[in-house]
Subunit: 189 residues, 2 copies
């Protein structure tokens, strides 16, 4: 591990801590079990507010010093008030953010210094599905395209391999491209 | 449509506009084709910032008066700086927001006045997957549970049916429980 020893902080990633974390999990695999959570409160119409804070992981509950709160809504063209992005847009944001975080970690682990990473995600959706007007049209995105611009001190093929490895280990990419079982419970009292 | 005519605004939903939108799409189905987008810029380490604004829909490009920007990061226990939620948490937020928006629309269309809607989403994830330590463990959530509390002027079974109809027509629920093809392009110059 000469590369990591000579410069433990790379791309803002503490590679020494990253490798120490991997070693810790190898020795105690049960600390890798996490549970993430989000809560949501309806405000009016399609406008609602989500809150993210507590999570379980590394064997204990974690409470952040502050809540992260995010408004969601539909735009006026969909009879909403534009008080926040649509939920479907938050999903595209989650995908870009996950791939980007992984990319920085992978590059750091491989000794590659990144200078710039930005991306655009586009999702095509035909609302005939969610409007209930055509049962042959799905509710969600038909296709999602991610376009990355990645610059750093490595040849193009090495930078592409970093993106590919991030894709291969992305939690959100996995959720979007494979299915996850979802249960919904309702309390009315 | 006596119900909607007698009280066009219900749950903050302009039901007259909602039904007019449905009629417009029935007459011109191509206006239902939308494209949503998110952009992302890497900041440092696992910290990055997403921006949501422009989208295409109803036959034209739309630019909102302001960008919506959202920071994402990993928590310290995952060698991040907690500058925002994890991408995987944004995904849970998107799911709750989508089901909640749909629920308000469905209730309004059915003449049900809601008084309170809140929810919690939990996602179980074993990081042995994304850490590359066990190839039998998936990268994403193994299971997601949504718990709704719904109150309004309808019997429990009618309120449950509203949630069920929202689930049946949710874009994000569809994406999470079914797969979407995702392509990733990389530019390195």
């Amino acid at each position: 591990m000469t590369v990591t020893d000579s410069s433990p902080i790379r791309n803002g990633v503490d590679t020494a801590a990253l490798f120490a974390t991997l070693d810790a999990v190898k020795g105690q695999p049960e600390i890798a079990k996490f549970q993430f959570r989000a809560t949501n409160r309806w405000i009016s119409g399609t406008h609602n507010r989500g809150t993210i804070n507590e999570y379980y992981g590394a064997g204990q509950e974690h409470v952040r010093p502050q809540d992260f709160t995010y408004h969601a809504d539909h735009p006026p063209v969909l009879v909403g008030g534009d008080n926040g992005p649509t939920p479907a847009e938050y999903l595209l944001h989650a995908l870009a953010a996950c791939l980007t975080a992984g990319l920085a970690n992978v590059a750091a682990a491989r000794g590659i210094e990144l200078t710039e990473v930005h991306s655009t995600v586009e999702g095509d959706i035909d609302l005939l599905g969610i409007l209930g007007l055509d049962d042959t049209v799905r509710n969600g995105y038909e296709q999602i395209r991610v376009s990355f611009v990645v610059k750093g001190n490595a040849p193009p093929d090495k930078l592409r391999e970093v993106v590919e490895q991030s894709r291969r280990r992305s939690a959100v990419f996995d959720v979007v491209t494979n299915s996850v079982p979802v249960t919904i419970d309702v309390t009315t009292a």
